[in-house]
Symmetry: C2
Subunit: 147 residues, 2 copies
DNA sequence: CCAAAATAGTTTACCCCCTAAACCAATACA
DNA sequence: TGTATTGGTTTAGGGGGTAAACTATTTTGG
């Protein structure tokens, strides 16, 4: 038991903490070079949930509001987002432009394709089941922690 | 099958790409604040494999040599590393100072403890086995990819 | 044997990410 | 209505990264 926890901790560290970015950096696609992963995440979040405030985006991304403010400025400059005024004049609702919608869709396809290739070539039918269970669990753990 | 791959891809994306950094950012420890994860990784690598060149570190971290050069400068400033001359006078061997050795050990304990708590509280005995298998596999996938 | 090519590192310019703190504007509320 | 709170922006400062230019030192090959 102890030994397994030990191995789990090491794997967690190697794979999650240091392994992921490597992969991210090796995705090659013009769009993926042009917009950062965090920027794409904003587009994807809005694509799924619809227009929302900067504050909510910050909460969902788990970062300081100033980080998001900065990010949103870039996305607006790139014309991927536009602002809708809400009743409360302090807050601004961010929504995708058509260009933003297209970018989100495309980037998703690229990333999906990339990961899919990674998995499908090297993971057999049995393993995929384990993979799913582990990751569902992980998602929970990370979520309850992050909140 | 298709549907499972689909879910796997999505989980991979959410957990690996966006979930990890959140966790990293929520580790709280003076040392962990003082030195970045990448800096700690350098210390850990050298702690494990012994003195090595900047080029090899860059290779192991999977980044451009200029990124490493910069990082090493910071670590030398903080007196965690020192330089040994090698026969080939172009290259420099980086080795841990005593302070570096202590920092590596401590940071590892902190991170270990953190991850362990994360896992041990929420993962039962059965799940840990799946976790291990999945992660061993993932490590392979990421490695073959990154090389 | 020596000049040209390759290799190891550093620097510089430029980008993105993040936090904290100061600062506006608008809304809440006592 | 005057003060507190809330949503966002800005600024300062510190990480991360790449690419390209530049040194210094080895290798190579004619």
């Amino acid at each position: 038991m102890d030994k397994r926890i030990q191995e789990a901790v090491e794997l967690f560290q190697q794979v999650l903490i240091y392994g992921t970015e490597r992969v991210l950096r090796s995705v090659e696609d013009p769009l993926w070079k042009e917009y950062s992963p965090e920027q794409m995440q904003v587009l994807n979040i809005i694509a799924k949930e619809g227009a929302m405030t900067a504050g909510r985006i910050a909460m969902l991304q788990g970062v300081h509001k100033s980080a998001v403010s900065n990010r949103l400025k870039k996305l607006k400059d790139k014309e991927l987002l536009h602002v809708l005024q809400s009743d409360d004049k302090r807050e601004k609702l961010l929504d995708l432009t058509e260009k933003g919608r297209v970018a989100a869709k495309h980037s998703n396809e690229v990333l999906h394709g990339y990961i899919e290739k990674l998995l499908i070539n090297q993971v057999d039918d049995q393993e995929i089941e384990q993979f799913l269970m582990t990751f569902r669990k992980l998602k929970e753990i990370l979520k309850t922690n992050g909140e």
